[in-house]
Structures are given as structure tokens and as C-alpha cells.
């Protein structure tokens, strides 16, 4: 049976605890050894031990590759077309040779694999660029980037170089900023890679790769919608819906048990998105301009993004229905922000006044942040408490400096909410005291 992967801290804890169990006679020593053998930290070890050399080798590879490009970019006019053509393909051939050597003969060297993958990724672009130089081929940047991307993604799978993942994410982002085309769909091609990392229990790599993909895909979708698009003003709501989707998927896939901020990129990034976008919606202005722009022409990308919105809504409903019994009050607090997204898009159509929407948004952040804070206190989770506090403080700060609300109204609302906080605190303390004294009486 293959041992399960765990972190060093977990292994140390298990060793310590099981040692005590052996001393107390609960376990025999060979049983302890058997249990310990079922958990391994090898992936984590190999990841960290190779990490430093990996970084150095990758940087070295990039510098050497860059140097070769600069040498050829100098444009040796005296060499003649034939020689220059051979020289242009040379970096690609060398990188391919190194990649072949790494995969065929030294598959155990992670650093070499990493470096050869990155080098090959750049060599593909370099050879195309240098041939363009020799023949004065005009640059169609979009086609060049797509070719580079399509040639680059297989490197990720065949050589398994994780550095290429970051480069691929960056390329997709570049493409999305360039044209109103759904180039963000290329992220789907990265999904099998992420799945294989997860399946092979390479959790550390999996987590940071997922962070890159979540953030990269979100920005790519935003960038692909130009200002000319009819749904440009809806993007803030679509982004909110997407955040809720990420949050729900994170809980759905990785479970409700708290694993820490970095361990669940989907839920963490989703929660950050929900908190920041809902704060933006508490301001005037977004809602007012969110009417459907009928002058602009719909392109394929716009339809696809509307589809993403629909999928986000449906998947969130699915999540709530399937996991209904397991949803805690803080999960409810975050997923209900989907209503703000839906209302933002249909609000103008059903003639919902701006004041109502903004009031709802403010109430939402107020209630949700307080719920998160109280959950942090109840569950003794400092991180949750601080997150709720931060969310709440931003709302207060924004409203304090909001010049659209009259001072008197602001003052009254502030005093009212402040008194509510104090009141609840006094009530809670009394209840706690009563509870403690009742317990003491019981004990006596």
C-alpha cells in the first residue's frame, strides 16, 4: 500500500503522540512503526530540497537562453540567410536535446527537468522570432502568442515542468488583454495537470499551481471584455458571481474542514473576491451605470462570459442544495452575496431604485461581516475573527468618508450601530456570567 502524504509538522506530531501511546501501553512498538510507515513526507521533502537548486537552475536557464537570443538578435547581416536560418533554429534544437536527455535519462532530477522545460518554452518563441528577423516577417503578435501557447502547454504535460505553468498563465493573460476573444478557455487545458498533481498527492505544488490558475483565469476573463463590449458594466457582478462559484467549489471539492488560508485556493480567493467586490458595491455609481448597453455589438466572448455567469449561479444553487445540511452560518453569509450579483444585473430592468440596491449592499456587508466575526469568536478561530473585523472596518471607514450621505443621518446610523454592539456585548457577558454561576451552583 502506498503511504499517504502529510506535512512534516503532522508527521512530527504523530511520532510524538504515538511515542506516548507506546509508553502508556496503548500501542506496541511494531504497531507504532506500522502506523508511522503509512504516512510519508517524501514529496514535501523532495519539493523543498529541490526547490532552491530548482530556482537557481531555472534562473540560469533563463539567463543563458536570453543571452543566446541577444547574440542572434544582434543580426549578423554578414552571415547570409542560410547560416542565420541554421543559427535561429539552433537554440530550439539545443533545448529539445536537453529536454530529451532530462526525460529519457535523468527523470529523477527535478531541477534539470524544470530548467529544460523552461528553456524549451522560451526556445520555441526565440526560433520563431529569429526566423522572422532573418526574413523581415511582419509581426502578428496575436498569432505568434497563440502558436507559442499551443506549443508550450504540451511541455507542461510531457516534461512536467511546473515553472512552465506560470509562464503559460502569463501568456494567456497577455492574449486576453490583446483581443476580445475567449482565450481564457485555454485554462481548461491546464485542468488535467492540476488533477494529476492532486491525484499523485503532490499537494504543495498543487496548491500554488491552483492559486496561479484561479487568479490568472479571473484576470484573463476580466481583460478579455473590452470597454466596447455591451456587458462591460456588468463585469463587476459577473466577477462577484465567479467569486461565489470559486468559494462554493472550494468547499465542495476540498470539504468544510478548515485547512488554512493557502491550502484551499478556491475558497480563499473566492472569499477575498466576495469581500472586496461587495465593498465596492456599497458605493454609488456602479449600479447606476449597470444598464444593458444596446449600442454595442455582442461578440462570441460576451455570450461565453454570460454563460459563465449562468453556470456560476446554477453551480452555487447546486452547492447549497446538495450541502444544505452541512452549511454553517458563515458559508451562508458568503454565498448569499450571489443575490447581490443577480440583483445588480436584473435590477435596472425591473426598475429597482439605486438607493434600495446600495442600502441592500451595505446591509449585506454589515450583517455578513458581523456573522463572520461572531463565528470567529464561537469557533475560536482568530483568522476568521480578523477577516470579519477587517471587512466590517472597511465598511465603516468607507461610509464615514462617504460624502453622499448627510452628516446627521450618518451620525445617527453610527450611534445606533455602536450602541447595538455595546448592548449585545453587555447582554452576552451577562448571559455568560449567568451560565458560569449556574455551572458553579450545579457543581456545588
Amino acid at each position: 500500500m502506498e503511504p499517504k502524504q502529510c506535512t512534516k509538522n503532522q508527521k512530527n506530531w504523530l511520532e510524538r503522540e504515538s511515542g506516548e501511546w507506546v509508553e502508556q501501553g496503548i500501542l506496541r512498538e511494531e504497531q507504532q512503526a506500522q502506523i508511522l510507515n503509512r504516512y510519508s513526507t517524501s514529496h514535501v521533502d523532495s519539493f523543498y530540497s529541490s526547490w532552491s537548486s530548482l530556482l537557481l537552475i531555472s534562473l540560469g536557464a533563463i539567463l543563458i537562453g536570453g543571452g543566446i537570443i541577444l547574440l542572434v538578435a544582434h543580426n549578423w547581416e554578414s552571415f547570409g540567410k542560410g547560416t542565420r536560418t541554421v543559427l535561429s533554429i539552433l537554440p530550439l534544437l539545443l533545448a529539445q536535446a536537453l529536454a530529451w536527455y532530462s526525460v529519457r535519462y535523468k527523470p529523477q532530477l527535478a531541477g534539470l527537468r524544470e530548467a529544460s522545460g523552461v528553456l524549451l518554452f522560451f526556445a520555441v518563441a526565440a526560433s520563431i522570432a529569429l526566423i522572422s528577423q532573418t526574413y523581415h516577417i511582419y509581426g502578428d503578435l496575436e498569432r505568434f502568442l497563440v502558436t507559442w501557447l499551443v506549443m508550450g502547454i504540451p511541455i507542461l504535460y510531457l516534461i512536467g515542468s511546473a515553472g512552465v505553468l506560470i509562464l503559460v498563465c502569463a501568456l494567456i493573460l497577455w492574449l486576453c488583454g490583446l483581443e476580445r476573444e475567449p482565450y481564457w478557455l485555454y485554462y481548461l487545458l491546464l485542468a488535467p495537470y492540476l488533477y494529476s498533481l492532486y491525484k499523485h498527492q503532490r499537494y504543495v505544488l498543487f496548491q500554488w499551481a491552483l492559486w496561479f490558475v484561479v487568479i490568472g483565469s479571473t484576470f484573463s476573463i476580466v481583460y478579455s471584455v473590452g470597454w466596447k463590449s455591451p456587458i462591460d458594466d456588468w463585469m463587476i457582478y459577473i466577477l462577484l458571481a465567479l467569486s461565489v462559484l470559486y468559494y462554493s467549489l472550494g468547499k465542495w471539492f476540498f470539504g468544510f474542514k478548515e485547512q488554512g488560508f493557502w491550502a484551499n485556493p478556491l475558497s480563499s480567493a473566492g472569499a477575498l473576491g466576495i469581500a472586496s467586490i461587495s465593498l465596492m458595491l456599497t458605493w454609488e455609481g456602479f449600479y447606476r451605470y449597470s444598464k444593458f448597453d444596446t449600442d454595442s455589438k455582442f461578440v462570441f466572448n460576451d455570450y461565453l462570459i454570460l454563460l459563465v455567469f449562468a453556470i456560476s449561479v446554477l453551480a452555487t444553487i447546486g452547492f447549497v442544495v446538495v450541502k444544505f445540511k452541512r452549511l454553517g452560518i458563515n458559508q451562508w453569509a458568503l454565498t448569499t452575496s450571489m443575490l447581490l450579483a443577480i440583483l445588480g444585473i436584473i435590477g435596472i430592468q425591473i426598475k429597482l431604485p439605486e438607493l434600495v440596491y446600495i442600502t441592500l449592499a451595505n446591509l449585506y456587508v454589515l450583517i455578513a461581516s458581523v456573522v463572520i466575526m461572531s463565528q470567529g469568536i464561537n469557533q475560536h478561530r482568530l483568522m476568521l475573527l480578523n477577516a470579519g473585523l477587517l471587512w466590517f472596518s472597511f465598511l465603516v471607514l468607507f461610509r464615514f468618508f462617504d460624502s453622499d450621505i448627510p452628516f446627521v443621518l450618518k451620525g445617527i446610523v453610527f450611534i445606533f450601530i455602536g450602541s447595538a454592539f455595546l448592548g449585545v456585548n453587555i447582554w452576552y457577558n451577562k448571559k455568560l456570567k449567568g451560565h458560569v454561576s449556574a455551572q458553579q451552583e450545579d457543581a456545588a
Binding site: 538578435a73 547581416e77 533554429i89 526525460v103 526574413y135 523581415h136
Partner: protein
């Protein structure tokens, strides 16, 4: 052999085939294409990947190009521009059409940008980069601009055109290759 290794070989082959095809296509245009003289003015920017080049700004794409009767063309459409020659022997874009021209008629396949006031379109000739060494690129620019102040305006790029694609064969000043022209200038100074 493992499937990964076979796939790797396939990937390597495709990666090599892309520059290979580019070379083949360019050579085909250069050997089989018709040569045209496009009047031009070079200026000198810089590309970190491909080094120095001079941007060529052509006389042929400065004016609005009329649309052929019966063609339905919008801005940002890809269209066929029929190539002809003016009285001085320089290439001009005669008319734009959305129907592929017949054999024997040279054309360029390009994207329209803005609609002109009279229903025609502005286009941009794509072969606008002439790559040169760090030394020569600024020299090309200064040599040519000085020429133009002296009213000698015979700077042109020799472009080969085949099946809608054009490629730069070389750059000339007064019918002399630009590199030779710069060398002569250096000698005479």
C-alpha cells in the same frame, strides 16, 4: 518506448516544423512572387527579441483605398487589395474587394482599419519591418531622411507578392541596395 517519449518526439517535430514552414513560405514568395517597388520612409525602433529594425512607412497606404462596386466591407474585416503600378513604376493599392481575385491578378490579403469619408477604407501594409543590425538601423534612418530633405525621394522596398502575402526582399535608395549605399556614404565622409 514509453508513450511519453513518443509524444515528446511528435512535439519536437511540430516545434521544428513551425519555423520550417515559415522559411518554406518565405522562400516560396521570394522565388515565385512578383516583385513590386513600394515607395517608403524608414524610421528606427527596437525589438528586444528580434533586435533592431526600421519601420517602413509606405506611400501606398497613406490614402483611403476605394471599395469595388458590390463588395460588402466593414472596418476590421479581412479583405483583398488589388495591387497595381502607377506611372512612375511604384506599387499602388487600387481597390478593395471581399471576393478572392482570379489567377494572374496580384493582391494582398489585409485588414481594414477606418472607413474614410467617401466610403473607402484606410489599410495598413503589414510588411513594415526591416530588420538590421544595431549599427546599421540608425544609419539607414539618418541616410534616408537626409536624402529626403535634399528632395531625392527614391527610397523604396522591393516586395515580392504571392497568393495574397507579401515579403520584403530588400531596401533600396536610388536603385542601390541599402547596405551598399550606407557603405558608400561612410567612404565618402
Amino acid at each position: 518506448m514509453k508513450p511519453t517519449l513518443i509524444l515528446l518526439i511528435v512535439l519536437f517535430a511540430i516545434q521544428l516544423a513551425i519555423p520550417g514552414y515559415m522559411i518554406f513560405e518565405q522562400n516560396q514568395i521570394l522565388t515565385e512572387g512578383t516583385a513590386y517597388k513600394f515607395k517608403t520612409r524608414p524610421i528606427d525602433p527596437y525589438d528586444p527579441f528580434r533586435g533592431r529594425y526600421v519601420t517602413l512607412s509606405y506611400a501606398a497606404d497613406q490614402e483611403v483605398i476605394p471599395v469595388m462596386d458590390g463588395s460588402n466591407i466593414e472596418s476590421e474585416d479581412w479583405v483583398y487589395a488589388l495591387v497595381g503600378v502607377d506611372d512612375d513604376g511604384y506599387a499602388v493599392l487600387e481597390v478593395l474587394t471581399d471576393v478572392k481575385p482570379e489567377e494572374g491578378q496580384d493582391y494582398l490579403y489585409l485588414e481594414t482599419f477606418y472607413r474614410g469619408y467617401d466610403g473607402g477604407f484606410l489599410v495598413s501594409l503589414p510588411f513594415d519591418r526591416y530588420f538590421a543590425s544595431e549599427e546599421n538601423a540608425p544609419k539607414i534612418e539618418s541616410a534616408v531622411w537626409r536624402r529626403q530633405r535634399e528632395q531625392v525621394e527614391d527610397v523604396y522596398a522591393k516586395i515580392r507578392i504571392l497568393n495574397g502575402k507579401g515579403t520584403i526582399e530588400d531596401l533600396y535608395v536610388n536603385d542601390i541596395l541599402i547596405r551598399e549605399y550606407i557603405e558608400k556614404q561612410a567612404e565618402s565622409q
